[in-house]
Every structure is written in C-alpha cells, then in structure tokens.
Point group: none
Chain length 141, copies 4
C-alpha cells in the first residue's frame, strides 16, 4: 500500500470518500479535539441558533479531505504541507458528505502538488471549498 | 455560555487549549474521519518513514484550533468562515499540544475577525501555523 | 469469573446475548476494523443498494457470538479454535439481535467442544448460522 | 466508488489492509460486541493465562478481513455469503496485523468467488487462516 509519486499524477485526476455523518461521529470528534462548542453538542442551545439544530464540526470535513489525500490521492507517503478551508454551508447530523480532491497543478522540481479540495452534501450543495498543498511520496529508485 | 461579540474583542487578546494526544485520540480520529493513512495507524509502516513512528493527524490539530475559537475566543455563537493551516512539524503520540488563537484584526462593519492560530508542542516547537476568519456572535440588543 | 471445563458441559446446553445494534455501534466497528464499506457508512449509497439502507457489518454479529462463547458458554478460559459464519439476511441499524450458542458435541479426549452458533433478529428471523470449535478451560486440579 | 464485478477478477489477485492494534481498538470492540471476556480486558486475569497478557479479539481480525473484501477486493457492492476462520496464534495489543485476501476460484454462472483470507503479524507469523465466499457486484449493463 503505497501512494503515487508526482510522476504518476496528472492534472484533473480525482478521488473521493463519502460518509453519512452521525451524532456518534460528532460526539467522538468533540471528545478527541476538545471542541465542545454547544453548536455541536447541545441541542437545546443549537435549536435557538440560526441553524436550528446541532451542526457537524467543519474541521471534521477537513479530516475527510485528509482521508482522501493520505489514503487515495496521492496516498500513503504523502506529506501534508498546507490546507485552506472555506466553510460555505452547515452540515447537519445525518447528512452524507463526499470529500473530493482534484489535482490542479504539479511542480516536478520541488515535488509539490496543488489539489482543489471540496466537500458536497447529498443534495450536491457545496459545503466546503479549499486547496491543499502536498509533497507526494518520492520514488525509491 | 455565550461567546464574545466583536465589541468585546480587541487586537492581541488570546486564548488556548492544551491536550496530551494519545493513541486512542488518533485511532478515534481515524475512525470518525476515515483517514486510515498507515502513517497514523500502522507502526510497522510508520517506522520505515522519515518520521520513524506513527504521527498524529494534522487535521486533529485543526480541530483543537476550532475548539479554541468555538468555545473560548470568540466562543459560542461564532460562525467559522475560513481557516488556513500550514503543517510545520510532526506531532507524535504522547506529545502535548497547545492550540492558541490571538486576535489580529477586527472589521466592525462586516463583523469579521482575523485570528492568528498556532499549535506548539511540549518543547515549544511550532507544529502548525495558520489564520482564521470568523464572524463573532451578534449582540442580541 | 471462570468458565466451565468440558466436564461441566453437556450436549444441548445453551447461552445467549442480545443487543439492539445502533448507528454508533456500526460506526465504531467501522473505525476499529477499518471496514469503511459504503454499505455500512453511506446512507445515500446504501439507499440505492438491494438492502435500501445501511446494514450492520456481518462480522459484528460474529463478535456477539464470540461474546457468548468467551463470557458465558463455556466462558472465561476458553480458547477459540475455529468459527464458520454463514450470513443469511441483512441486519439493519436499530435491529435487536440475539446471538446464541448451543453445545453440539464434546470430545473429552482432545478437550474440544463443537457449538452451533446462530443470530436471530427481533422477528425471530435467522440472520447468521455457523459452528464454533473451542477448547474450554482445563480444570486446575 | 464501486467494487469489481466477477469479470474484473482473476485467480491470484490480492489486496490487503494493515493496522497496529491498540488497547483502544480492543476496548471499543469489547463495548460494541459485548465480548467482555477478561482475556481481552482484564490484565490481572490475563497475566495468569497461558498468553500472559490481554489478547486482541480474534473476531476483530475477522473484521479486518471484511474490510479488505468490502472495500478493496472485490469492493463495494459485494455480498458476504460465508466466512470460515481458524485462529492460529494470539495477537497482542501493539501487534501490527495485515489482513489479506487472495482470489482462489471464480464461479461465473452463480456469480460466486472464493477467496483465501489470512492475517499475519509484524513478524510474518500466521495468526488467522480462512476462506471467504462472496457474490461480487453485478454489472449494471
């Protein structure tokens, strides 16, 4: 199980990972990160917010992007350099999110790859956009 | 438990959250996000990488920053607009990480706040730098 | 808390364990085993499958059988040698499953016990059948 | 993300998944399945057993095999029909296990595939052997 080197990548290549996000995901994420914001874990509080209900941590979607980069494209061996995230719309418990990464440009000299990273929900609504900068695995030979 | 409005914030204000990151944190984060990259969950694989051992998911540190913004500064009611993350050094299982946010600038008209966001390990080494853009809670009156 | 020796067992003896299987069980099982099959964690994908919704990992039912063997019949001290599992029907999130083990035959000389192992849902529908081969705890004296 | 149909498989094809199994994995698996056998979760009890320490649930390795079948080979869309498991050696907390599936035979008429399924530890020791029978995804056209 090894990732792609920069020579195995080309602009436009893409990979994705989908998951229905549950209350259990949100609560475990809260516990692991310490993000106990009541918007995520207090339904009484959340019902009085603009979003009317508890929402999924934006950074959990960041984690799903990391899942695509680190296990699929480019995959194992990749070094994560930089990630920009812009949160576009709330994700509610029970939504199904697809995180996708698309190769945007390759810098062969510096072994750097830029990928467009997006998350969409089950209705195709864009919930997160961003850009990743990574160093793919360097070939052994 | 309510967060600060933009009128209660000033440049230079800061807040932080610290946690020793355990194997259990890394494994739960892997399960929730789907990030099963062997660099995080396979010690045999990881011992042959540049880092020599399993490392903590960078995005888990992103979650700790989100924890500071959403529960402390500005706190509950904040809408997360944008986050840039630059991963500077690996975090190993057992490391104690402090995530910190410092108010950098305020846009009263648009109700937008920029915060510098950093994570350091127990030796003071910078492991993550970045910048957040948020909309603090709007005052009820 | 010690298990039965082969001399304390007889053909026809049985024990069982019941549990309502939740979304949280399925998600934790996915995280621990790495089984991120969309049939288990992606409701949009699953709604287009033959089963129409996310189903419980079959091997989670295997774990419930292991629970009966290792904690009840024969119980602690048992060595698990072999298990056959035949998946007969899907288990949906929210179903209540009873795992049952029934002693089928005893080999006193080799200290081996064969048990019939089944799982049924709340409607009595057989969802899993199989057979276990175990070595019960050997008496100290 | 779709799995292979039987026409995309050939004898000898293989796929694997590796993970270092932690205390956290064992405890979550115990909680989900109800398998609270002290051999897995009581170090005082376990230190007096033949294995001298807590061991990983055999059925958790079964789950790793299910992960390979359901997400890699044949992958999503596969129906799990039957699995035989023979536990050959104990896995201890901290061991790194590789679950592997190898296509053994194809029955095109019945859309059934037999795969050899094995788990080995970090020293190459065989800890589980078995055989799976699955129905791969049927091609849409």
């Amino acid at each position: 199980m090894t990732g792609k080197t920069i020579h195995e990548l080309e602009v436009g290549q893409e990979a994705s990972f989908s998951k229905t996000l549950t209350e259990s995901d949100v609560y475990l994420f809260a516990g692991v990160t310490g993000d106990l914001n009541p918007a995520h874990i207090d339904e009484v509080y959340a019902s009085n917010t603009f979003f009317k209900t508890r929402i999924v941590h934006g950074m959990l979607l960041g984690g799903m992007i990391s899942a695509v980069l680190g296990s699929k494209l480019p995959g194992p061996g990749t070094i994560y350099v930089k990630q920009d995230l812009r949160f576009k719309a709330p994700v509610r418990i029970g939504d199904t999110v697809t995180a996708k990464a698309i190769v945007k440009s390759l810098d062969l000299e510096k072994n750097r790859v830029v990928l467009e990273t997006v998350c969409v929900n089950q209705d195709g609504l864009l919930v997160l956009v961003g850009e990743a900068l990574v160093s793919p695995r360097v070939s052994k030979g």
